[in-house]
Amino acid sequence: MAQAFEGKLEKLDHFRWKIPQTYKSGMKVPGLIYANESLLPGILNDKALEQVTNVAYLPGIVKYSLAMPDIHWGYGFSIGGVAATDPENQGVISPGGVGYDINCGVRLVRSDLVLEDLRHRLEALVNSLFNSIPSGVGSSGDIRASARDEEEIFLKGAGWAIKKGYGAKEDLEFTEDKGSIEGADPSKVSKRAYERGKDQSGTLGSGNHFLEIQVVDEIYDERKASAFGLFKGQVTMMIHSGSRGLGYQICDDYVKSMVNCLGKYGINVPDRQLACAPVHSPEGKAYLGGMKCAANYAWTNRQCLMHLARNVFEKVFNKSWNALGLRLVYDVAHNIAKMEKHKSEGKEKLLCVHRKGATRAFPPGHPDLPGPYKEAGQPVLIPGDMGTFSYVLAGSNGSMEETFGSTCHGAGRRLSRSSAIKACHGRQIDKELFNKSGIIVRSKTRGALAEEAPEAYKNVNEVVDVVHGAGLSTKVARMRPLGVIKG
């Protein structure tokens, strides 16, 4: 059973709680939790806060071990955790601070369609998407990549997909890092990882991964929404997937290699899953080179998934995707480590920012934003559970000042998978969702529906209200699900 956090928690204001550095002698910085009074009891009843304090042991960690309001117990790092380390001050990189699903992330596609256009076609659309998009345990797809292609995917990311005709050049403009992070090193990818990545491009996977058809049901900021091409009543599509077996294997390889070199670098962490190595060490550099290959693979994967889905829309509506206005709003990574410039102790420094279940949220004017979004800020995509809402937020200045340009990534689990199954015993979640809200759900794996039932998650509205209230990102639009394909 999960035990409640027994340490001291200082309330700083309505949205911020601090775990003092004195809580454990090995902590190098305090912990900072973003939450409100109603989310806090759930957070305290989980082991996540112990994990926040464990992360504070990492050599070279800067300012705080941070936790977003969707925080919950993971392994090593909590999910919803952010930590930045300073490579010039023995800062480390930790594969467990990224997770096995490297560059798991979300993309949002807008359309010119409105709810009325789906009235008689929703079921056909969902069924057709379900049949056309490979999903489920170990799913493999029709998009085949040769060994040479795979290396190109590692190096060029989503650009490979565009070259193959799986999308348009402008898609890259609206993908974090333009769908390809620099410095990927295919020689740091093991043979096993290569093998596992080979036939999984353009596959959704299982667990909490999904493709969802939605309708925009609320606009909070007209100007930003209009900059992102969003309007009330509009049909959108959200895709949540990652780097599949390739990423799992790369993380696995490097956790094992770093467990073995902790002694060599004199690193003491309270949980072996936090195994790490200095960013500048051979092990650290190797992991970064390999991790970037997986990150690029994941962007390619989501690009391929979007391409497959656009094809389905074209068939169902008998129009080209361009004519349907199926443009990419944005694609964000929420499991990744990035070298980014941030202010630390009054100076601008290049830090290694770990985001494990956290989203980049760059504010208006940031040089990395695409031209059309310069004024609005970076779109932040927050999937909710399959029964409630998802959100589009925009990055704001607070994130740069406090959280190394980061914000939350989703609703965050409230119930363990086994508790969710107990709570759903004897129920048919797909039928319930249909009868109650008209949401059509399709899934390949037996476990997915009960484990991913709406009550397994925190209230996404509250999670979003906290990051909005704390000034990390601002609310732009809310979407309600119409049809969901679960992995």
Partner: protein, 142 residues
Amino acid sequence: MKPFEFINHTADVGIKARGSTLTELFENAARGMFAVIAREGCDAKGSKAEKSIEVCKNSDNFEETLVGWLSELLYIFNREKIYFNDFKILSLNDGGIKAEATGVNIDLYQSSLYTEIKAVTFHNLKIEEDVDGFSCTIIFDV
């Protein structure tokens, strides 16, 4: 003594495995892992498959060997689509592990699996010994 049971974990899945000997603990942990993948059992009626498994370690740290052993089985499951249901450990010592595993060849689409395990984690992993033998909690990333 239950060979293994599922335990609560918020985001992922955990099992507590037990064994009167270290060897039995390792075998039961493998059974537990495949139970996570298929829950009530795999209904595939594929042909029988047998594999020799060897994980070399130069360490007296049995937790690392345990993660290595389970990761190896998971790797073969993913690569060769073999659902393992029986394990026989031939040797287990500081040099690593040698074992034979048997199972069935499956079609991932037809065999109604329960969930995908991404990896075996080291999270709070500790093999404990008491009068009944050995036990260990293992968290899987799913």
